[in-house]
Structures are given as C-alpha cells and as structure tokens.
Symmetry: C2
Subunit: 105 residues, 2 copies
Amino acid sequence: MRQPSQLGEFEHLLLLTLAQLKGKSYGTEIRKTLKQLINRDSSIGALYATLERMEKKGFISSTLGEPTAERGGRAKRYFELSAEGKQALRETQQQLKTMWQGLEL
Amino acid sequence: MRQPSQLGEFEHLLLLTLAQLKGKSYGTEIRKTLKQLINRDSSIGALYATLERMEKKGFISSTLGEPTAERGGRAKRYFELSAEGKQALRETQQQLKTMWQGLEL
DNA sequence: TAAATATATTTTACAAAGTAGAACAAATGA
DNA sequence: TCATTTGTTCTACTTTGTAAAATATATTTA
C-alpha cells in the first residue's frame, strides 16, 4: 500500500504551485502559474481531477467564492494547502534530498 | 502528451537509486538500497515492472550476467543508467529546484 | 541423483494517478 | 434573449504503481 506522504509527480507539482501562490487560488490561476514557473502544460481536466483527489486525501481544501462582476465572472473554487499537504511536501523534499546526496550528474 | 523527461514518482526514485549505486546493479540490490536510503518498501513486482518500462523508454539499459557459484546463484540482470536517464534526472531536479524557490514550509 | 532450498526474474491482475476534451454552468454585453 | 466569456465538472481512456504467484536456475543434502 502507498504511504500517506507519497505524492505522485503531478500531485507534487500542484502542491508546490499552491505553496508558491500562498493563500487561496483557483484553477486557471494555478494552471497558468505552473506553466510560467516550469513551462509545464496541463489540461483543465488533469488539473481538477488531481486537485480533487488531493482534497479527498486531505492535502488541500477548497471553498467556493462569490461570483465577480466581470464578464463570465462565474464563482471560483479556491484551493489551499492544508497542514497535511505541507507535511507531505516536506517529507517528499527530505527524501529527494537524501536520494541526491553525493550525486554528480 | 507526456514529455520525455517527465518521471513518475517511483521511476524517479529508481533512477536515483541506480545513480547512487554507480555502475551496474541488479533487482534485489536496488530494492535493498532504496529501503536503506529512505525506508521505501517496494515489492519485487513493482520494481521489475517499473525498471522494464524505463528500459523501454531508454532511461536505463540492462544486461544479463553470468550465474555465480553460490546456492541459488541464478544469473542476474544488471541495470544501468543511460545518458537519457541522467538527463531526465537533471531536468526533473532543475524543475523541482525552481518550484521550491523561495518557499519556507 | 532426486528432492529440498535458495536466489532471482517474469508473469498476471488490478488499483491509482495522469491526461484530454467535451459538456455544463453562470455570469455579462450586445 | 442570445452570443460570448470565464470557470468547473464529467467522461473516457492511458500510463504508472502495486502485490503476489509463477517460473527459472543454481547449490546442497538426503
């Protein structure tokens, strides 16, 4: 069985994106940020599916915002890192640090 | 579509293990090393399946050794990081470095 | 030398994560 | 009201991750 802190590749990147965005942020913004930071493309479907799975695991939480007064200003769903999510990031980071120890590639 | 350098979580760890082991190494040894380094358990099936997939992608290569003169000394299959595998590791590392930039968790 | 035992890999089957695109929802502007 | 815009949800499928059983092949021992 997979341990609770084990993050999939895309899960890992999304959590880091949320960390970078600090506070709350929503789908399109998250997607754009990931693209800007490391040029990683992601479909909207992939994004939400992964966010949903991580919410179920408790790594993030989401809240529905208010509609805004702009064209197409539909209510946004804001996502936020949870304490468990931060912990998972720290553990993953620590593991990778160990695995890289002494390597020169 | 997934880019060539994109590594799954377990793929990533296995490539790093091969890098740590330097030179050639075989299944059981790889498994033991991963356990020692970061206490990560993996079934033999998971290990070989992932190694095989990565060989197909060109991240590693494998060669069959000679049987050894010890009880149960069946011929071992040795795995080795390829140039493409090293490159994938470097790119992944660089991406994560960027994603972590400025974060304090 | 046949059976037991040890080391190692391969096969099989399934669960979880990753992915894309269409469908849907809800707002404003014309 | 209908076209347009921004945003989320649904659907279908591929790839990765996983465990356990089956198989292979060597030595030791009865």
